[in-house]
């Protein structure tokens, strides 16, 4: 068959020269290459102790945000759960009582808000769907665990730390 390109290169096999048959020069060359790597800095990042710097648009663990007064922004509208392609989010809504005004921004809030981290695919659609800017995937990598039930993260793990009292 005619070659389709002109890039074909015919390799000719020459018999090994005497120096090549001695093996030793080539071995020495190879060993000098490997020993130079011995003193190079390794590329490994010791993960649990040292964390790689994430890019600005990295999507990690979710966090439920608070507003400037320290009240939870989430109003349990359910749009995040609806948008979630992996059906990882569930929530139970509750009505805010008058004395809870300091805690929740809207009159309705999420009493239970759970994300199953094994189902979540970190696509960020919940973040885009949220009308209240309440959920962001701005956390670190979700850590490993031993039991499936421990991957269902509730509000205790998701909600941002409260603002410090002035």
């Amino acid at each position: 068959m005619e070659p389709l390109t002109s890039k074909k290169k015919v390799l000719e096999q020459k018999p090994l020269t005497f120096a090549e048959r001695m093996y030793l020069p080539a071995i020495m060359k190879g060993m000098s290459i490997t020993i130079s790597h011995f003193f190079k800095k390794e590329a490994t990042i010791r993960y649990p102790e040292v964390e790689r710097e994430f890019s600005t648009n990295f999507r990690g663990m979710h966090s439920l945000k608070r507003d400037e007064d320290g009240r939870e922004r989430c109003t349990a509208c359910g749009l995040c759960a609806l948008s979630c392609p992996a059906e990882a989010i569930t929530m139970i809504a509750a009505e805010r009582k008058p004395e809870e005004k300091e805690l929740y921004r809207e009159e309705k809030y999420a009493a239970v808000y759970e994300i199953n981290m094994l189902r979540c695919i970190f696509c960020g659609l919940c973040e885009e769907a949220c009308p209240k800017e309440a959920i962001y995937l701005d956390g670190p990598i979700v850590p490993a665990d031993y039991l499936r039930k421990d991957f269902i993260y509730g509000k205790d793990k998701l909600v941002e730390a409260p603002l410090e009292k002035k």
Binding site: I27, I35, H37, F38, E42, R46
Partner: protein, 345 residues
């Protein structure tokens, strides 16, 4: 022969045995670390600081694993194989002079278990027995891969033993003795045999690589062709013994190379050091130097393993029979002529 002599030898044997096991243990760790550093990685670093407890963890793992004996194997030989490999690996250390005699409390204690006058031949005998562990294990497994590997190991070891023996003959022409103790004493200071026998040393080292089944001559256990090699069917601590025996072999052949060619416990400027340190500490310092040489060789073994790809089997045989043996014979002839010339004039 008094009782203190027996006790003294017993302690020495126990120490040497312990040290060779310890070194074999940490060779597995060092191998993984060296491999990692040569490949820009970190290596094991989780068990203890820098991972120094890794060998212990590996040992525990080996003991905890299920022991499987194949149904159609020859049970007795299957059990004997790893034990024999371990035994032959360990007894080689008996004739190696670890240091010049130490004076402790007026007693002069030689740091060598026994100084037999055919030390080199003893080493050869033990090394050639080493292949039996591999052969018996491979045959008793009743597995085609194991058998193939055992055959490979046998023919490889026999082929390279010839070149090894011939390279030693040239050394014997120079030293005129087979006692390892005397050979070491002759290399006092910097008169190391490698300066008189460079070709012989390279031949001996290549053969030592082949004898210990180390890369690039690790054909008996090449994973890509033979699954695991002769220990394919082995599990638990029996497998551990085989792997361990390989590292002890490496230690022993490093020690032999350091003794025969690199002056053993001799180092330049040892006479001034002997005056300075006194009769107790100077020999021990010499022993430390000897161990430094051994570690350097072990590092070299590992460095080679992570650099050079494995030989093809026909290349291995070609190298052994058509290159190393003629070269070794030529080396003998040249050495003999030079010695005859020096003695004549």
């Amino acid at each position: 022969m008094d009782i203190s002599f027996v006790i003294e030898k017993f302690i020495l044997v126990a120490i040497i045995f312990g040290i060779s096991l310890l070194i074999a243990m940490y060779s597995t760790y060092a191998e993984r670390k060296v491999a990692a550093f040569l490949q820009d990685r970190l290596g094991p670093d989780r068990a203890g600081p820098f991972g120094i407890l890794q060998p212990l963890a590996d040992g525990v793992k080996m003991f905890m694993k299920e022991e499987i004996v194949p149904a159609n194997s020859s049970k007795w030989l299957f059990m004997v194989g790893p034990g024999l490999a371990m035994l032959t690996a360990c007894i080689g250390t008996a004739v190696i002079p670890w240091g010049s005699p130490v004076t402790i409390g007026g007693r002069i204690i030689p740091l060598q278990v026994t100084d037999i006058n055919v030390g080199i031949l003893y080493i050869f005998g033990v090394v050639s027995l080493g292949v039996y562990g591999v052969m018996i294990g491979g045959w008793a497994s009743n597995n085609k891969y194991s058998l193939l590997s055992a055959i490979r190991a046998a023919s490889q070891n026999i082929s390279y033993e010839i070149a090894m023996g011939l390279s030693i003959i040239a050394l014997l022409l120079v030293t005129g003795t087979m006692s390892l103790k005397e050979i070491t004493e002759q290399q006092h200071g910097w008169h190391w045999n490698v300066l008189y026998q460079p070709v012989g040393f390279i031949l001996f080292m290549v053969c030592a690589f082949a004898e210990t089944n180390r890369a690039p001559f690790d054909l008996p256990e090449c994973e890509t062709e033979l699954i695991g090699g002769y220990h394919t069917e082995y599990s638990s601590m029996k497998l551990g013994f085989y792997l361990f025996a390989e590292y002890i072999n490496m230690f022993v052949s490093s020690a032999v190379m350091a003794t025969l060619y690199f002056g053993g416990y001799n180092y330049p400027g040892m006479d001034t050091m002997a005056v300075w340190l006194g009769p107790t500490w100077a020999p021990l310092f010499g022993t430390a130097v000897f161990f430094f040489k051994i570690f350097a060789f072990i590092f070299f073994f590992m460095w080679v393993r992570w650099t050079i790809p494995r030989f093809r089997y026909d290349q291995l045989m070609h190298l052994g029979w058509k290159m190393l043996i003629p070269l070794a014979i030529a080396n003998i002839i040249v050495t003999g002529l030079v010695i005859a010339y020096i003695e004549k004039f």
